[in-house]
Amino acid sequence: MSSNHSNKIIVASAGSRKTTYIVKEALSNHTDNILILTYTIDNINQIRNYIIRENGFIPTNITILSWFSFLLQECVRPYQNFVYSDKRIETVYFPPDIGKFKADRRFIKKANVKNYFLVGGKFIINEHISEFSCLCNDKSNGKVIGRLEEIYSKIFIDEVQDISGYDFDIVDLLLKSKIECYLVGDCRQATYFTTCSPKYKKYKGKNIINLFNDWQKKGLCSVEEKNDCYRSNQTICDFADGFYPHLTKTVSFNTDNTGHDGLFIINENQVLNYIEKHKPTLLRWDKTADTFGLEAKNFGTTKGQTFERVLIFPTEGFKKYLSDGNLTKVTKKKNKKTQVVTEEIKDSFHLAKFYVATTRAKHSVAFVFEGNSIFDKLIQYQE
């Protein structure tokens, strides 16, 4: 049935040059069609720019798509009419208020294809697109995968930790197909969830490692770890590793000495001065964070990027962690009733975002924080 000997899952830590690996592998082949998939637009641009930097242009045999574009364009539409043929499915629908949206639709049965999967008869709901894709493949007797096999000989899925639910069924089908699959991801950086389906729930977030291991047990792939860090220095790596005590420790290859290296605590009244002197990139949870009116990036959007120095505005929960080092207390504000995500999972996403933020810096990570920290590597900044 399958020739999965060559499928590979690479579990890599931050700064281990995942993108470099994907780009180099993809560029080494000039003839076969190669598909590179990833979750965020930022990451697509990053891969695209990397290829252009390496190669001058994107070779015609390489296609780069976002996960949703891939599902819509390559899985849903080609055999859409096996499931639904009233109208062409135009695009993916992202409900503005997911809680209300789900509550309003909770009585719609799956058999009602048009209303369960679609809005307005032609927009497919983000949460259901991978399920619809699986349905197209089933109903057409495997034509969706068959077509992909005909087109692509290799598929790279970057940030594989960010997919979930029925997405896993698609990945499962790909692993079983003739296509050589390379899944690259970091379970520590699972900051998104593409769907909230109960399926594969136990593998959500950092637990995705268990799924990888299960696939390996079934003989669908081999799992490799990459724990070298070419970005952050060892002090930063150690601090970030501390979020995930059960995972392998990272080894840093960054030995630069800039005179201001490691972890720092910045008091609020030192912020402007610090920015002036060290020019860090400012990072925040989201726009609700108080950054004293200064321009800052959201943690989630910085995935894959590298900065010289960062200045992080921690959440209340994270401030607690800085002071007592107790992981279980890292939580965001109380969830609203409609929020379907459980407390535990939310926790792991919270942590993942801080992991991403911390591991962006090459030389120094500073936290805006008043008081003492349990971590002795965190040094109070002196002007």
Partner: protein
């Protein structure tokens, strides 16, 4: 090698049309106005996105739609129902080639899992509000509101694409009109442009710019400019000078023209122009076109040029798919019947492969000409030989005052056993045909049994006499005319009618010719007259 099948809905005269194409050469033969050019136009439209040399979105008009669907829409609108707006659909089904894999899917009107693209000219739903306002008073609506339409190209995976994403290039050579654009020939320009790579093109562009700039430095031009300068203030207070416009980026296309033996291309003969255009299009090294669409290559071409062209076509078609429409039996004979696609009434098409193997064989040996006559005429009368042909034509002339061919009716002389072969084609193509035949002394067996498959076919009529004593046309003719008239026409003095019959049988063609040329009053058997009533 590329296009397997074309399916067209509601485009001009092709309301519901489908055609399978040969991998290399396709020779389409059919009557005028049958929609052959429309097919070529449709293929070219999908592969280039252009109609009449312009982007399709600027060319959408009610006239692109089949008249009957527009009429149906208008009628429904006026009777108060809310009809769906008609859509034009052109689907091109492709063969399995590596460059087409991404076009695969089941989004086509046949739900086939295959490679291809479809062009839809349809109502743009962004105009919903405007449209509902527009139809609120249907009494004043006389045509389709194509202002609210748009053209979109999808592959069979239902991805919105541009013709560029289909790795298939077409060139349409319409020799019936020579379209001029900016003085030079548009097709030729396109072909030249396609044949140059980017380096060569920029080189040419640069050379042209240098030429223009050096023109500015010519003494005579300098003289004019200094003169203009000295008149400053009379026309304007600013400096006025003349020069060549160097601003257009690639203006060489508009200013350069090609020469044939030092004669500018557009001044050479039309035949020559066509010939060169077709040769250029056929040459793989010159253009990248994979599909070449040629309308009536015989236009403006002499016999010998034609011969050279055909030879070239036969050689070159190995790497290209060529679709030719023609009326020329010469083209057909030279390129071979295997590639023939006959185009009948009701836009029905067939190739020789649709015929029984022995019939195929027969027509291959017959070398095309008579097959074509049947297909090209509006109606044909099949007769049993040259003398019968003359008699039927004379009878027609006496009754209508003109020869059948003047009414588009072709009289074709067919050898004894071949009738059924012609009828097989006529039946498939729904061509109107009548057979005028002898009863050979046994009308039941020799006629009614023989043609049993065709009796009752709407477009086929068989005429014969049931009097078994009058076996052939000669005794039939003798029976309905008196002895004196016959003797006079044949310049004979034979004693009785039997002797006349014998004489006629011995001198079939001469007698037929005498009847054809006579001014005497002459009667024809009623089954002959019925054949054209």
């Amino acid at each position: 090698m590329n296009i397997q099948k074309v399916l067209i809905q509601n485009f001009k005269t092709l309301q519901n049309f489908e055609i399978s194409l040969n991998k290399e050469l396709n020779i389409i033969v059919g009557d005028n106005e049958a929609g052959k050019s429309t097919l070529l136009e449709a293929i070219n439209l999908v592969l280039t996105g252009q109609l009449n040399g312009r982007n399709i979105n600027y060319e959408i008009s009610p006239f692109l739609f089949s008249k009957s669907v527009v009429d149906e829409y208008l009628t429904k609108l006026k009777t108060g129902s809310n009809p769906a707006l008609p859509t034009i659909l052109i689907e091109i089904y492709l063969h399995n080639k590596p460059e087409f894999v991404k076009l695969k899917g089941s989004n086509n009107s046949k739900n086939e899992d295959t490679y291809g693209v479809s062009l839809k000219i349809e109502f743009n739903e962004d105009y919903k509000d405007e449209y509902s306002k527009y139809i609120s008073d249907p009494t004043n609506i006389t045509t389709l509101p194509t202002e609210y339409y748009g053209a979109k190209l999808y592959d069979f995976a239902n991805k919105l694409i541009t013709p560029r994403s289909v790795e298939l290039y077409s060139t349409l050579i319409d020799t019936t009109t020579i379209k001029l654009q900016n003085g030079a020939d548009y097709y030729l320009q396109k072909i030249i442009e396609e044949s140059l790579d980017i380096k060569e093109r920029t080189g040419l562009s640069l050379a042209f710019r240098n030429l223009k700039e050096s023109f500015k430095e010519q003494d005579s031009l300098k003289a004019i400019n200094s003169k203009l300068k000295s008149n400053k203030g009379e026309i304007t207070n600013k400096d006025l000078s003349v020069s060549i416009d160097i601003s257009q980026k690639s203006s060489w296309e508009n200013n350069l023209t090609s020469y044939i033996d030092d004669i500018p291309f557009q001044f050479s003969g039309k035949g020559e122009q066509n010939f060169i255009k077709m040769l250029l299009a056929l040459d793989k090294n010159i253009t990248k076109s994979d599909v070449i669409l040629i309308e009536e290559p015989e236009n403006h071409l002499s016999f010998s040029t034609m011969n050279a062209l055909i030879k070239k076509m036969a050689e070159k078609c190995k790497d290209k798919q060529i679709i030719i429409t023609t009326h020329s039996t010469f083209v057909l004979n030279k390129l071979g019947l295997d590639n023939l696609i006959l185009w009948g009434e009701d836009k029905k098409t067939m190739s020789l492969k649709d015929l029984k193997p022995d019939t195929q064989d027969y027509f291959k040996k017959l070398a095309g000409y008579d097959t074509l006559r049947l297909v090209l005429s509006k109606k044909s009368i099949l007769v049993e030989g040259p003398s019968d042909e003359l008699i039927v034509q004379k009878a027609y002339y006496i009754s209508k005052g003109k020869l059948p061919i003047e009414d588009g009716i072709d009289t074709i002389s067919v050898k004894g056993l071949s009738f059924k072969r012609f009828l097989e084609i006529a039946k498939l193509l729904k061509k109107e045909v009548c057979v005028v035949t002898d009863n050979d002394g046994d009308y039941k067996k020799k006629v009614e049994n023989k043609y049993i498959d065709y009796i009752g076919v709407a477009n086929i009529k068989i005429y014969y006499d049931k009097d078994d004593t009058l076996k052939t046309l000669e005794p039939q003719l003798v029976a309905c005319n008196d002895l004196a008239t016959l003797n006079k026409i044949f310049k004979t003095s034979l004693p009785d009618k039997q002797a006349i019959v014998d004489f006629m049988i011995d001198n079939k063609t001469e007698c037929a010719l005498s009847i054809f040329n006579t001014t005497e009053t002459f009667e024809f058997p009623s089954y002959v007259k019925q054949s054209f009533q």
